[in-house]
């Protein structure tokens, strides 16, 4: 387990910024009540076996006893680095993103299951969308009852969405909670 270096940190923050925008500081600076101390510590990022974890400092201190190859996970995993060196967010960071998301999309109940199988969001399944979404923004996908379902990249801006035909793709799928069942081994 080691802290991230410069390059890695920028890659991670870039990706997060797409989804959270200025709320990024919430993520980085939020106080944690984990650990046994009375004072709340901060969160930090650590790299372990190509996975990036978002943990509070108290936990990090305690985890140093554990050998590198025996440490499996700590705190929340937010993503991993591929062999090519690029960083991808995984579904486990959904909780983090959902709280701080700038752009949200709500799905109709009929198309929830389709998204959970890994398909993109079509115009016909779109319930609501936040204003000022531009193409290429990260969006977090919710169900109508505000249950976070996953996240993706907006394919069209809000204006264009209105003009789109019902089968047009609105959000490109990146991760969804169905992966916990479909791809448990890959997480």
């Amino acid at each position: 387990m080691r802290p991230l270096d410069e390059k890695e940190t920028t890659a991670v923050f870039e990706k997060l910024f797409k989804f959270t925008g200025n709320n990024l500081k919430n993520i980085v600076e939020s106080s944690s009540h984990e650990g046994v101390d009375e004072n709340a510590g901060c969160y930090c990022f650590r790299l372990q076996k190509n996975k990036v974890y978002y943990v509070s400092e108290a936990l990090v201190k305690r985890a140093t006893n554990i050998e590198r190859d025996k440490l499996v996970s700590l705190g929340t995993c937010i993503g991993k680095f591929t062999k090519g060196g690029s960083f991808h967010l995984t579904i486990q960071c959904l909780n983090l993103l959902a709280v701080n998301a700038k752009h949200k999309v709500w799905l109709k109940p009929t198309s929830e299951m389709s998204f959970l199988y890994g398909n993109h969001v079509l115009k016909g399944g779109l319930g609501r969308i936040t204003e000022n979404t531009t193409a290429g923004d990260g969006v977090v996908v919710f169900s109508m009852s505000d249950v976070p379902l996953g996240f993706g990249i907006a394919a069209k801006s809000t204006q264009d969405c209105r003009k789109l035909d019902p089968n047009g793709i609105v959000v490109l799928h990146q991760a969804d909670i169905g992966e916990y069942l479909r791809m448990e081994d890959d997480l």
Binding site: S32, H33, E34, G35, V36, V55, S56, A58, L59, R62, A63, N65, I66, E67, D69, K70, L71, V72, S73, L74, G75, T76, C77, Q92, N95, E112, L116, S143, S145, V147, P148, L149, I177, G178, Y180, L181, E184, D185, L187
Partner: protein
């Protein structure tokens, strides 16, 4: 007379009866006698009965012997003739008396015969249950198993055993019945001999059958609300809207729900995937409830996969503090991490160690609570995995027990007895075998300075304090056992310890315990040498006010449980045994002498004098 009787008969014969008509034809040669009908209904009734009786007797009809038969026949000859004339006449009265007596006798005879027949039937039924003879058993072994027959025999044996004195077969001992029951149960339900034998020893016969029946059926599916993300009521509403038929689990759980049936797959709803609930059996709630983790504590879960209990702990702690979730098998780690992430647990560190190594990694006396849900033989969850019925043998249980004993010592060593809010260890297994449960607890009580405390689960059955030849510590009644046929959850065992001090007693024999009251002066040398020596050594108990226990961590601290009465006799026997060793180690005996002198000076008591004498 005869005529009068004949009249009576004739009157009776007037009643339509095919038999009588037959007889009439049969005996048509008989000269018909004068008939007079009787109008008295009672007589008619009697007559009917009597005639029926006579129908019996008519088989053995003989003219001379049976006047009634005679009359009957003659009466039947007249059956066609309808003549209604009175029977009453004075001479008839005595006849009537005779007749009534005869009728009474007939009736009595009939009743007796009927009763005898009934008796015969009953007798046949109870006699019907006899233990099959060897020959019958051999025949049965050749044929394919006859299930209804086995089932019937099992029921019969249970019935006999429950009322043994009355229903037993002569010459058959209780043991024979039980042997046969064991054979039948193992072939009907598919168990191996070992498992059936153990179960027979643990339960009375009726309960045994209930237990085995309960193992055949699955327990209801339960789920646990993830209080980090939602409340039970809200979750129940959402699931009911999706078409799931559920109910709150029981009054002892505020987060459990039991699912009766569901239109959607309960393990694949969006709520499941969003981490709002976890599918978990009801028995798995219990060890975490017993553990009762508080906020900001350090908890270790030594065998955490797949993570149901770990996530429950995190939910109770509201993501504060730290949880070390350890799992030895790599293949199960994925499901553990996935569940932790899914349920939104942020305070967990997952490691992949063998549980026995954890104290070295995490440090001794460093955490507040430990949960050990030990790997076991799985005999309590036969309803989930039928292969356990045939695959477990005595060696398997012994191996499991050995591993569990090592793990529980490791668990106890990790806990800090001086922790402000903690100092507890919870041990649980999903097995009902005594060597894996009570024996392990007893071992821990002997080897470490711990004490059993109530689990907080009042609705279970207390654990065994004695079982066959084993005698366990009396506080074992604070442990809890759960059975499928009583509590409708998987077979389970939970025990909760409080660690009293961080010291470890020295190695000593596990059979005898001695806590000898001795003040320890400056005798560390003596104690150390002594401890290095013997297998059987007397223990020194340090009064807590004299010494800081931590310093004497390997200086021979005995358990706090005084057994003074036993001590005396044991100490004398031990002395005799120790005598053998003394001659071979002169230096050590000298050291011991010196120590004893010191002790004698500090406390004068007859016990010590004896020891001095024998030494």
């Amino acid at each position: 007379m005869a005529a009068a009787s004949a009249k009576g008969k004739g009157g009776k014969a007037r009643k339509p009866s095919p038999k009588k008509k037959q007889k009439k034809e049969f005996f048509s040669e008989k000269p018909p006698k004068e008939l007079e009908d009787s109008d008295s209904p009672s007589e008619e009734e009697e007559g009917e009965e009597e005639e029926e009786g006579n129908d019996f007797g008519s088989e053995i009809y003989s003219d001379e012997d049976d006047p009634f038969a005679d009359n009957f026949l003659q009466g039947s000859d007249e059956a066609g003739k309808e003549s209604g004339s009175d029977l009453e006449s004075e001479s008839d009265e005595s006849d009537i008396e005779e007749k009534s007596r005869a009728i009474d006798e007939e009736r009595a005879r009939e009743e007796e015969e009927a009763g005898a027949e009934l008796q015969l039937n009953i007798k046949e039924e109870s006699d019907e249950f006899r233990l099959p003879t060897k020959k019958e058993l051999e025949e049965e072994a050749l044929r394919p198993p006859d299930l209804p027959n086995l089932q019937r025999r099992i029921k019969e044996i249970v019935r006999v055993l429950s009322n043994f004195k009355i229903l037993r077969q002569e010459g058959a001992a209780r043991k024979d019945y039980i042997e046969q029951l064991k054979l039948d149960l193992s072939s009907y339900y598919g168990y191996n001999d070992f498992l059936i034998g153990v179960l027979v020893e643990m339960f009375p016969v009726v309960e045994l059958v209930e237990l085995i029946e309960a193992f055949e059926k699955p327990r209801p599916i339960c789920l646990r609300t993830n209080t980090l993300k939602t409340r039970r009521r809200d979750l129940a509403d959402v699931l009911i809207n999706r078409g799931v038929n559920l109910d709150p689990l029981s009054k002892w759980s505020k987060v459990g729900l039991v699912v009766y049936d569901s239109q959607v797959p309960i393990g694949a709803t969006p709520e499941y995937m969003a981490g709002y609930y976890m599918l978990q059996s009801a028995s798995s709630f219990l060890p975490v409830m017993a553990l009762a983790p508080q906020d900001k504590e350090r908890i270790v879960d030594m065998a955490a996969a797949p993570g149901g209990k770990t996530t429950y702990i995190a939910a109770l702690m509201k993501n504060s503090g730290i949880i070390y979730a350890n799992e030895m098998k790599e293949s199960r780690l994925k499901s553990l991490t996935a569940n932790l992430q899914r349920m939104g647990v942020t305070n967990a560190i997952v490691s992949n160690y063998d549980g026995k190594e954890l104290p070295k990694i995490l440090g001794l006396n460093s955490v507040d609570r430990v949960l050990l849900d030990a790997p076991c033989s799985g005999t309590g969850v036969i309803s989930k995995d039928e292969s356990v019925k045939v695959s477990k043998s005595s060696e398997d249980i012994q191996k499991c027990a050995f591993l569990q004993k090592q793990l529980i010592l490791a668990a106890i060593d990790m806990v800090d007895a001086k922790s402000k809010s903690g100092g507890y260890i919870v041990y649980s297994t999903c097995s009902i075998m005594v060597p894996e449960n009570e024996a392990v607890i007893d071992y821990a009580l002997k080897k470490r300075d711990v004490k059993l405390v109530p689990c907080g689960l009042d609705f279970g059955r207390p654990g065994f304090t004695h079982f066959r030849e084993n005698r366990f510590h009396p506080s074992l009644e604070k442990t809890r056992r759960f059975y499928p046929h009583v509590h409708n959850m998987d077979g389970f065992f939970v025990a909760k310890f409080k660690k009293m001090s961080n010291s470890k007693p020295t190695t000593r024999p596990s059979e005898t315990e001695e806590a000898v009251e001795q003040a320890t002066g400056p005798n560390d040398n003596g104690t150390n040498i002594k401890n290095n020596l013997e297998e059987k050594s007397q223990q020194l108990r340090v009064p807590s006010d004299l010494k800081d226990r931590n310093k004497m961590s390997d200086g021979g601290l005995g358990k706090r449980i005084p057994k003074n009465g036993k001590d005396e006799s044991d100490s004398t026997t031990k002395m005799k045994k120790q005598k053998r060793k003394f001659p071979s180690r002169k230096e050590i005996s000298k050291a011991r002498e010196e120590k004893r002198k010191v002790l004698r000076e500090s406390k004068a008591s007859s016990k010590r004098n004896k020891r001095a004498k024998t030494a």
